[in-house]
Symmetry: C2
Subunit: 441 residues, 2 copies
């Protein structure tokens, strides 16, 4: 008999492997930070003695969800302004609120609260872009959450850095500082083509290449953006990115709403990836990303909530539901974006987009133990005919009961084990009072 | 001092009156089945001694939500088939499943489970159309839920009635049987113009007029429906309805996705009303209802989840979120369908659509005490800048803590007080096993 640190037993287990295998009554043994074995409860019990046993009967067990686009600290601005024109929203609410309020304290506590919200709704990995990202890294590290994160880079000063050069140096500091952390990974993140000079974009790519880390950026999010980029750079966005050497397998973009067939072909040919953010795109009336065409072209597409000011939560189960429904509605075809397709976007394919699929996104021996257990004994989850359908169309984040990340139990029976959630809420409430005062001026 | 049966004190209270008043720190006194007084906690405490006190500090108190279109018993078919073409879904899954399985037992337990799900997510009134509606009425009565319901009427036999005449007689029985019930109200419900003969439609209206009850029907839900109706009746749907005397203030329709300017003008001129079902319309790829144009024309629009086979839950908070986002996305305008507009659709305006606004939908003395209390001390609801924004964009059904209907406490601290939820789930699970066996044949 071998020792297992944790055995989860009796759940419907969705492996998210290439065959979309489901074990109707399965068990997973966790040793250290990794999945050691997957099988029937009897098989696992024959092989392992469990230090900690988690009962999965009448539950779904799936890989922890991958939220591939967040601005975590923006929990502090959740719902600060809604139902406004994009430029009004940005110029008169979000940018002033950020300029007056974002500091390391807001970045840390806002990110820690985001980690609490994400764990509570089954997310185990997030990809973040914001200001003072070292604070977000600290929060994720303390919460025990896996992440890929980078400091936002643009031509103008931020509350953290005065120049693009400072932003790049801060990013390099992040890369070096967190190099050996088991959970925190760093990505170089120029904000967007319309906010970054060609020089900054090239320097960002050079930095990423020097350390072998990915590059990610907001891309063609709004209807006006292709025209603005064409005007600024004298060519199409994707043609420009190809010229400056961006199009490779370590490049991915957020949104991609206005990617046309030529963009899609270029991305597919070069192995570039896209993160879809349906709820944010809908709330800001940005348009509908051509996700079906991207998938048909073979582009790997992940799923993200975007920040709390444009969603206004970080619930990936609701995001999956919306992703499936929006594409069906926009294409007038109920067969596109099946529940299976969407769940893969939020797990194994999200992990591929972030370059973390050797670690997470599916359940098999050798993978890191990032797992979410969903309880089914509730009216709105009764009965169940299909595990995929249930997870995408019926479950919401509050149905997640227990979460492991990197083999560590971070939530059990909805109790967070790594975060003092009352302190995090208290600190963010105090920060929000400061934000309100700053906006009343 | 007067006696109050219940005092809820300390919450942010959203009155949903004409001015969208919010009491930042309010209290509500309930006497018998009604709201007796609304004011500050101090005002209420000066006037009332409470038999039962409910602490609303750090909570939102709002009128219970009105789900204006359900097929409650279809909880038994939740997720039975998804991601299929509409006719494939209907002909090969839903219709056979119904023909083989719907009986009084399924109707009763499916409806009772739906009541449990709805109360757990803050809905206090629902408008139902299905088969064996007397069973749904029994379930609602026992659950203590308010409802408006009717037997589905069409030209072909149902598991309950063999002929349209039988359907009308069954509906009349419902009207008479439940006439004095404080919670159960009856509506005459021809299924749709394409499934009912002109004779059945006229007889249905005559029955409704004889008893002064409303009439409701599915209407222009799918892209093909206007053409089918034109072909069948030799004129436009709304012109036909006008000819046979349907267009009055006691007529409302579900969906209305393909209503054009002429339909909207006719509905507005005659005081007819519409129920919007965004999640079902998206999942079945039906199209996007022209809700902004309906609202501009002055039509009262309610909100509904539709049945569990096309959603796949009854969570009105998620439905509100989707309603706001879908309209912004479809019109490429983030200012349409504000959080306020949507919350009114799900409360006071929903009540107007159903003809129950003299009883419910807003909080003021004299109204029936149908109330939902939402707890805010959670990461995904921290911080709060706007009550409306929070309820529409951040809250989900699981955040509802306590619910009163008609003055009766039906849920407290998420514990259902009127329904044996384990028995309801157990019975529906057994019915679902029967459904699965019937579909395997």
């Amino acid at each position: 008999m071998k020792d297992a640190d944790v055995v989860l037993s009796g759940a419907h287990v969705l492996l998210l492997d290439d065959k979309d295998t489901i074990l109707e009554r399965g068990a997973v043994a966790v040793v250290g930070d990794s999945i050691a074995a997957v099988g029937t409860p009897e098989e696992i019990d024959r092989e392992y003695t469990a230090r900690k046993r988690i009962d999965g009967v009448n539950c779904l067990l799936l890989p922890g969800l991958v939220n591939s686009h967040t601005h975590a600290a923006m929990t502090c601005f959740r719902g600060i302004a809604d139902d406004l024109d994009l430029m009004d929203w940005l110029s008169n609410y979000i940018f002033p609120a950020e300029a007056r309020n974002v500091d390391p304290e807001l970045a840390y506590w806002g990110s820690l609260l985001a980690c609490a919200e994400m764990i509570l709704s089954g997310t185990t990995t997030f990809c973040d872009m914001y200001i003072f990202e070292n604070e977000t890294a600290r929060a994720a590290h303390e919460a025990g959450m896996r992440c890929l994160l980078g400091e936002v880079l643009f031509d103008f000063p931020s509350p953290n850095v005065k120049t693009p050069g400072e932003g790049l140096r801060y990013t390099e500091m992040l890369i070096q500082k967190w190099a050996d952390d088991p959970l925190v990974n760093v990505v170089v993140e120029p904000h967007a083509l319309y906010t970054c000079s060609p020089t900054l974009l090239k320097d960002a790519k050079a930095l990423a290449d020097a350390y072998g880390v990915p590059v990610a950026t907001h891309y063609l999010e709004n209807m006006t953006e292709p025209g603005i980029v064409q005007e600024k750079l004298g060519r199409r966005a994707s043609a420009f990115l190809q010229e400056i050497g961006y199009l490779d397998e370590r490049f991915f973009v957020f949104h991609g709403v206005y990617m046309d067939d030529e963009d899609i072909r270029l991305f597919a040919d070069h192995g570039c990836k896209v993160v879809h953010n349906p709820e944010s795109n809908m709330k800001l009336a940005s348009g509908v990303a051509p996700v079906s065409r991207m998938l048909e072209a073979g582009i790997k597409v992940g799923l993200g909530t975007d920040g709390c000011a444009s969603n206004n939560n970080l619930d990936m189960f609701q995001e999956m539901d919306t992703a499936a429904k929006l594409e069906k509605s926009a294409r007038l075809d109920p067969t596109v974006m099946s529940a299976r397709t969407v769940l893969r976007m939020a797990t194994c394919n999200g992990a591929k987009v972030l370059g973390l699929d050797h670690l997470v996104g599916s359940i098999r021996p050798g993978m890191k133990a990032d797992l979410a257990l969903v309880k089914l004994d509730k009216p709105h989850l009764t009965p169940m005919y299909s595990e995929y359908s249930h997870l995408v169309y019926a479950v919401n984040g509050s149905d997640v009961d227990t979460v492991l990340i990197n083999g560590r139990l971070v939530m059990e029976n909805r109790k967070l084990l790594t975060i003092d959630v009352n302190e995090a809420m208290e600190r963010v409430l105090r920060i929000a009072e400061r934000v309100k005062r700053s906006m009343a001026k």
